[in-house]
């Protein structure tokens, strides 16, 4: 485990990472708006998956394991949707990632409260049952 507060240069790197999440947050909001306005499409699923996949691969490295967990589950779910059929839950689960990102951007925290959110439980169940 890295002690991010122990070194000012490390702290700056982490602060920069948190700032960079604003861009990812804007993108996930935009994808959701496109789905609401224009409907689900393979392109929009792919855009959402790119955001989730990229975030899953980095957030925990910077000390945000819950953000990685949510992003990884969304990545798996969207991967299934891209190869099979999209479900109405796509927006619900993208919204969950949006909330997690907002918490981290706003307060620099990993959102533990979302682990108990009903949407998280539904996403976990969906991924486990779809991938069986």
């Amino acid at each position: 485990m890295i002690d991010w507060e122990s070194d000012p240069d490390l702290k700056n790197l982490r602060d920069d990472f948190i700032s960079s999440l604003k861009g990812r947050l804007e993108k996930i909001i935009l994808v959701q708006e496109e789905i609401l306005n224009l409907g689900i499409s393979s392109e929009r699923i792919y855009e959402g998956q790119i955001i989730a996949h990229s975030l899953a691969g980095i957030a925990e490295t910077y000390g945000f394991p819950i953000l990685t967990l949510i992003a990884a589950k969304l990545d798996d779910f969207l991967d299934f949707c891209s190869k099979n059929y999209p479900t109405h839950e796509i927006l619900e689960f993208m919204n969950l990632l949006e909330l997690a990102l907002k918490e981290t951007v706003k307060g620099g925290i990993d959102s533990r409260i979302l682990l108990e959110d009903v949407r998280m439980k539904r996403l976990t169940f969906a991924v486990e049952s779809l991938l069986d």
Binding site: D16, F17, S20, H53, A56, G57, T61, A72
Partner: protein, 124 residues
């Protein structure tokens, strides 16, 4: 004065690249960043590398292409540490081992574990 060992890091995500460069710099290495597969290939012959850290998913050319190119230069024997996505990990290992990659590290990784692997591979 002892020369620092050179490490080529091929990684398109700036946030990952900066952290790895910072961590390995503190461990005494000189890290050069390539932001895509083409840049990584251009750098292959640019200097003597103690190690190449290679991300799989990159623009222009992916890590597999860069690894194949490296192995075509038979006079160069550089160890390669591949960074793989969680979901592709087991498939990646088989593929990369055939192409001669030395080690693999799954994303998201612990920077301390990365540094430990790097030191093990280069033997410091």
């Amino acid at each position: 004065m002892i020369d620092r060992l050179n490490i080529l890091l091929a990684e398109d995500d700036q946030q990952i690249a900066r952290l790895v460069q910072f961590k390995l710099d503190r461990e005494g290495f000189n890290v050069v960043i390539a932001e895509d597969g083409k840049e990584a290939i251009d750098y292959l012959l640019a200097r003597k590398w103690a190690l190449i850290i290679l991300d799989v998913m990159m623009p222009v050319h992916d890590g597999w292409y860069v690894l194949k190119k490296l192995r075509q230069f038979t006079e160069i024997h550089i160890p390669v540490l591949m960074l793989t996505a969680k979901s592709y990990h087991s498939k990646d290992i088989a593929n990369a081992a055939e192409l001669g990659a030395s080690q693999f590290l799954r994303k998201p990784f612990d920077p301390n574990e990365l540094a430990a692997q790097v030191k093990r591979i280069v033997g410091v």
